[in-house]
């Protein structure tokens, strides 16, 4: 009996070791939401990386915070997000390696408002407390010297569009594609207010620093693929639709969604949503200023050390080639 248990334990141990060995070679990517058309470019980059020998698997989480926590606890290797607060407060050794998209958002209001100053004291609909649109509202308040009225939180740009169309709000902040949608549908009722340029990151790719150093080769392949995809996309946004694998998670989306990919990326590239150079030091500096002003980071942006938040080596290597 004892011999049997010992053998069983041995088999279990051996299986566990084989599994962990296999996992070490496959990088585990945490998505903050299920794959959507907005992730098509990322999956194109993943396919390019795969062609260069990168093995990956992805898991979609229900919320960005869960994806961040999965990386913090080591269950996932790489995730999307801007975990500046987590890096500073919990001293988690995670670093950003690539800026996926910039915080390109637009204040959209009913026709009675024409400038940001008019919004002084007005209630506004935002995504979530402490989220990206909340930080944009904070910075607008500081730059324009105004104070918004009551902030109500309606997660999802699409839901805020629906609420605006139903007359449940007079002001909100929307992403590029939803801004275009609402102005196209009801441009006679809504204004898209002029907005200052923001270079700070909305989504960035980050990972545990130790893991990055241990898997330098895989990380370099991934960042190189992202850089090449982002550069090619800047020249011709339609490559995303053309390179999307029909068998991948994006290729499996409904035909109506796929039909809009070209339009989405053409508008996004024209709207400056993506930096073909992956952000790098310029984005890191902009992030410091932005997130300090938005209240997510503490300290003086000029003295915060960029290396405490970003790891530039893979991007530098990709740019050098």
């Amino acid at each position: 009996m004892n011999a049997f248990i010992a053998r069983l334990a041995g088999v279990a141990l051996a299986t566990g070791m084989t599994l962990s060995a296999a996992q070490a070679e496959t990088i585990r990517i945490a998505l903050a939401e299920p794959p959507s058309d907005e992730m098509a470019a990322f999956f194109v980059a993943l396919d390019r990386a795969k062609a260069n020998g990168l093995d990956y698997e992805w898991t979609a989480f229900a919320e960005e915070e869960l994806a961040i926590q999965a990386v913090l606890s080591g269950d996932m290797d790489i995730a999307f997000g801007t975990p500046y607060a987590a890096m500073q407060r919990s001293k988690a050794p995670v670093r950003i390696i690539f800026q996926l998209s910039k915080l390109v958002f637009f204040p959209v209001t009913t026709k009675e408002f024409t400038t940001l100053k008019d919004l002084d004291g007005q209630p506004i609909m935002l995504h979530s407390r402490g989220g990206g649109t909340d930080s944009i509202a904070n910075v607008i308040e500081q730059k324009e010297g105004i104070t918004f009225g009551e902030r109500s939180y309606v997660p999802g740009s699409g839901n805020r569009v629906a609420a605006m169309l139903a007359g449940q709000g007079n002001a909100t902040i929307l992403d590029l594609s939803n801004r275009n949608k609402i102005i196209e549908e009801a441009g006679d009722r809504f204004n898209s207010l002029p907005m200052f340029e923001v270079k700070a990151s909305d989504e960035a790719l980050f990972a545990n620093l130790d893991w990055i150093k241990e898997n330098e080769e895989a990380v370099n392949i991934l960042v190189k693929a992202l850089h090449s995809t982002w550069s090619d996309m800047a020249k011709d946004p339609t490559i995303i639709r053309r390179e999307t694998s029909p068998d991948g998670p994006i290729g499996q989306l409904p035909a109506e969604v796929l039909a809009e990919i070209d339009e989405f990326y053409t508008e996004a590239v024209a709207g400056g949503l993506y930096d073909p150079n992956g952000g790098g030091r310029e984005a890191a500096k902009a992030d410091m200023e932005w997130y300090v002003e938005a209240g997510q980071l503490e300290g003086d942006p000029a003295t915060l050390n960029l290396e405490d938040f970003w790891y530039f080596a893979p991007l530098d290597a990709a740019m050098a080639q």
């Binding site: 961040i68 913090l72 606890s73 987590a86 407060r89 979530s128 407390r129 402490g130 939180y153």
Partner: protein, 254 residues
């Protein structure tokens, strides 16, 4: 010494749990897991600046309304179901389905029908709390010893007397255990609704603290709701002690 033994054991049990929490936070098991002391410091800060009270003023609305509705209607319906076979067939399947339903997945449906306001949140609390109260009450009533009822009838008791003097006291331990389970579920429902519908009250502290990586405040808010639930369950037990003195056989939650 023996008199204080339950208290000592409870303190020891709390010490073990909080000690394990402190150690897990110090290791740390994850960068997102704070120590017990940090969490308590955050709780003290929220208590002194009053933010936790503002949050509870918001969270207690759906919780109190939902738990009251569930308790009153739950016990009423449970008695009815337990006393009548016909009503059992009519109603108990509904509550069994409610109990088994994956509530988090059904929340979008509730929001579609009742919007994002208080009504939806009260519904979530009721769906969590009511089935266990109804089903426990019904089965307790049904399982009243037949000999007691026969004794009452042979002493020419009216139906009302049988209900109030025989069935209710006999069923009360199980009714109260249903209430305790239902109220705990109601607490879970209230927080679930604040996390899944719109972040308000304690749910807002949890989501906001998580988004700015203030994990001690996040765990402090979770701890506070557990603490409140434990206090409330103790009060419920005191109520049972006052109403049905004979029921007290020593519970762990004393």
């Amino acid at each position: 010494m023996l008199k204080h033994r339950p208290l000592m054991l409870k303190l020891l049990s709390a010490l073990i749990v909080f000690g394990a929490w402190e150690i897990a936070g110090r290791v740390p098991v994850s960068y997102a897991f704070p120590t017990f002391i940090d969490s308590m410091a955050a709780l003290a800060r929220m208590t002194f600046d009053g933010s936790i009270f503002v949050a509870y003023a918001e969270t207690l609305q759906p919780l109190v309304v939902g738990v009251l509705i569930s308790a009153v209607f739950g016990i009423g319906l449970g008695l009815w179901i337990g006393l009548s076979k016909g009503f059992e067939w009519l109603f108990s399947p509904i509550f069994i389905v409610m109990q088994a339903a994956p509530l988090a997945a059904l929340i979008p449906l509730l929001v579609m029908v009742y919007g994002i306001g208080l009504t939806s949140k009260v519904f979530v609390v009721c769906i969590m709390a009511m089935p266990v109260i109804v089903l426990n009450t019904a089965s307790a009533v049904r399982n009243t010893p037949a000999s007691l009822k026969e004794m009452a009838t042979s002493f020419l008791a009216h139906d009302r007397d049988v209900l109030l003097k025989i069935i209710l006291p006999a069923a009360s331990p199980v009714i109260f255990s249903g209430l305790r389970l239902g109220v705990s579920a109601g607490f879970i429902g209230a927080i679930l609704s604040e996390l899944k519908i719109t972040p308000t009250g304690v749910g807002d502290i949890i989501t906001y603290s998580r988004s700015i990586a203030d994990y001690p405040s996040m765990y402090a808010a979770i701890f506070s709701i557990i603490l409140l639930a434990v206090i409330f369950l103790n009060l419920l037990e005191k109520l049972e002690d006052i109403l049905f003195e004979g029921n007290n056989r020593g519970y762990a939650a004393d």
